[in-house]
């Protein structure tokens, strides 16, 4: 069974978001997404200070099989990116919810979190996709 931590929120496009106490949030791709992609060989990170609208393309993950866009689940300004991924994209494969985080954002509208999926809803979506 693929890991779907309860405390995170999810986008239908397979990103997770973890909101910290200070109102900033970490964003990455899910366990399911990394498994579907296979071994990652390259990650294109967003630029720090760039401002995204919710659903906007924020980067690219590339594996031996495919390249796939990463979308920012929420609007906000990029505070930091996980530079470790430049040399070690495999961190996303080995620890998608931890060391494999992709970027950190300052949310401009916390209401948007309500539009995202809960762990249960995301699990349901995966079950449907699996049909």
């Amino acid at each position: 069974m693929t890991a779907i931590p309860r405390e995170l929120k999810y986008a239908a496009s397979h990103e997770w978001i973890r909101v910290e106490e200070d109102g900033t949030a970490y964003i990455g791709i899910t366990e399911h997404a990394q498994a579907a992609m296979g071994d990652l060989v390259y990650v294109e990170l967003p630029d720090v200070e760039h401002e995204f609208a919710a659903g906007e393309e924020a980067g690219v993950v590339e594996s031996v099989k495919a390249a796939s866009d990463i979308y920012s689940p929420v609007s906000g300004e990029v505070l930091a990116v996980n530079e470790a991924l430049e040399d070690a994209p495999e961190l996303i494969n080995s620890d998608p919810y931890g060391d494999g985080w992709i970027f950190r954002i300052r949310l401009s509208d916390t209401e948007e979190l309500n539009d995202l999926l809960t762990a249960d809803e995301y699990e349901e979506q995966l079950a449907e996709e699996d049909h």
């Binding site: 579907a36 071994d39 390259y42 031996v64 099989k65 495919a66 796939s68 495999e90 699996d130």
Partner: protein
């Protein structure tokens, strides 16, 4: 072992050395070479053995079945090559006068006419040197069209999720933003989503029909109407034209511009063996923008178009007039097959795909779009096999190599998990298709009995399972003199 790693300093093959000509004497001294170039220093026999052995490792359409289909390797009839290699064509200089090139220009003019007829379009330009360049030309024409009407607010190109990866890339290259339109579970474009997406910002839609899902979009007339009503134009990616050749014309579906991959549909070289050719065809409203030159016929004289013929052209795309040899091969192919023959291409491409599809269903494989008739290609998903035996699409593909078949396209399109995209093409015989079915039956049995056999395949090829990740991360494709010692062999 590379040829550089063989041989000894000073070893020569004098018998094959070029002789009879002496170096021109009027080169300035500072341009003359002071050291010999670093060629491999090997004997004639070493060269012969090296390249003969390499050629024996080749896996080619001349030796084996390639279910990758026209996407990578369709059979090219020998006659086309022979015709294009006639001395009159081969030795013709691209800048030769029109008066001395009437035969060549006749061929190109007629090819333009044939392609216009096949696609239902008003005009054709043969100059794009590849499918990607044809796409670029096509979208550049859409752009030129909107600009000529002072319609500057159209900034968006719509692309269905089942599109070829080159489509969004082309749109971006031409300065557009891309908006993806989802595809429904049955493989057709989501018409409701399309209707919500169109607007005054819509410059056009890029579509492949039949799509990468291997199905013909049944709502194409309504899609075309939706785009046209919004003021956009329709671009047809001709990659899958094999399936509809002579059956239905993109012009009749409502498309305004398209490119053809001659290497996919008209049997010209492909797969790294190019060069390619990606002619563009347009409906009458885009005629003024065609890339030049185009072959024109005035009375009985064939000539290249000038800027006076097409003052609004998007311009030239190549130094000369497209890839002459490739265009000649396509012309020969179309003329040899004729109208009836081209129709048979579509019929057999589709029949072969549907036959193979049904045979694989009989074996228990799962179709990605079970309710749909295949076009010239179809998709199976190996997800059930992955669940049942722990063997994925790549393991199946690698094992297939041991059976003497090339693998189909794996893990594409991205919409379908663990997928194989299978395209037999029109040139494969029933017997050949049955051999392929028998191989898959054997592999399916192996998956149930001994999954390791698949996971460690291939077992019979010069190289075993390669490290894809290492290859992508540590690209090593060049030979550097003086580093021989540090290389591991």
């Amino acid at each position: 072992m590379l040829i550089f790693e063989q041989g000894q300093p000073g070893r020569r093959s004098m018998a094959e050395a070029p002789g009879g000509s002496s170096a021109p004497l009027d080169f300035p001294a500072h341009l003359m070479r002071r050291q010999l170039p670093r060629f491999p220093e090997v004997s004639e026999l070493q060269v012969v053995r090296h390249y003969t052995n390499l050629s024996r490792k080749n896996f080619s359409i001349d030796t084996q079945f390639y279910p990758l289909g026209s996407c990578t390797m369709k059979y090219n009839p020998r006659g086309a090559h022979r015709a294009a290699s006639l001395p009159g064509f081969l030795n013709r200089h691209p800048l030769m006068a029109e008066t001395n090139s009437q035969g060549y220009l006749t061929c190109l003019f007629e090819l333009q006419e044939i392609l216009a007829e096949v696609t239902g379009m008003a005009g054709v330009s043969l100059t794009p040197m590849a499918g990607a360049q044809g796409e670029f030309a096509g979208i550049a024409m859409i752009r030129a069209y909107h600009q000529s009407r002072q319609d500057h607010g159209r900034t968006e190109i719509l692309v269905p999720a089942a599109a070829h990866g080159t489509n969004p890339a082309t749109a971006v290259m031409c300065g557009y933003t891309v908006r993806e339109i989802p595809v429904k579970a049955d493989g057709d474009v989501d018409l409701d989503a399309l209707k919500l997406a169109v607007g005054p910002q819509t410059a056009g839609l890029m579509m492949t029909n039949p799509s990468t899902c291997g199905v013909f979009d049944r709502a194409i007339a309504e899609i075309a109407q939706t785009i046209h009503q919004a003021g956009g134009l329709l671009y047809y990616d001709g990659a899958n034209l094999n399936a509809i050749l002579g059956k239905v014309k993109p012009g009749a579906m409502g498309f305004d511009v398209l490119h053809l991959n001659l290497h996919k549909t008209f049997a010209t070289p492909h797969g790294g063996g190019g060069p390619g050719a990606g002619p563009v065809a347009v409906a009458s409203r885009l005629l003024p923008y065609l890339p030049t030159p185009i072959v024109m016929k005035s009375k009985d004289f064939y000539r290249w178009s000038t800027e006076h013929d097409f003052p609004h052209s998007i311009g030239r795309l190549s130094a000369f007039m497209g890839n002459a040899g490739v265009l000649l091969r396509a012309y020969y192919y179309a003329r040899v097959l004729g109208r009836a023959g081209l129709l048979r291409v579509a019929e057999y491409a589709t029949l072969n795909a549907n036959y193979l599809m049904q045979r694989l269903v009989d074996l228990g494989f799962t179709l990605a779009y079970p309710t749909r008739r295949a076009s010239h290609e179809f998709i199976i998903s190996l997800s059930p096999q992955l669940k049942q035996y722990g063997v994925n699409a790549m393991d199946f593909a690698k094992r297939l190599l041991d059976y003497g078949f090339h693998a189909p396209t794996t893990y594409f399109p991205l919409l379908v998990p663990e997928c194989w995209l299978i395209e037999p093409t029109e040139t494969e015989s029933l017997e050949q298709l049955e051999l392929f079915v028998a191989a898959l039956e054997g592999i399916l049995k192996e998956a149930a009995e001994d999954a390791t056999l698949l996971k460690t395949a291939p077992h019979t090829l010069p190289v075993r399972r390669l490290d894809d990740v290492k290859a992508a991360r540590e690209l090593d494709v060049k030979w550097s003199y003086g580093e021989e010692k540090t290389r591991s062999t």
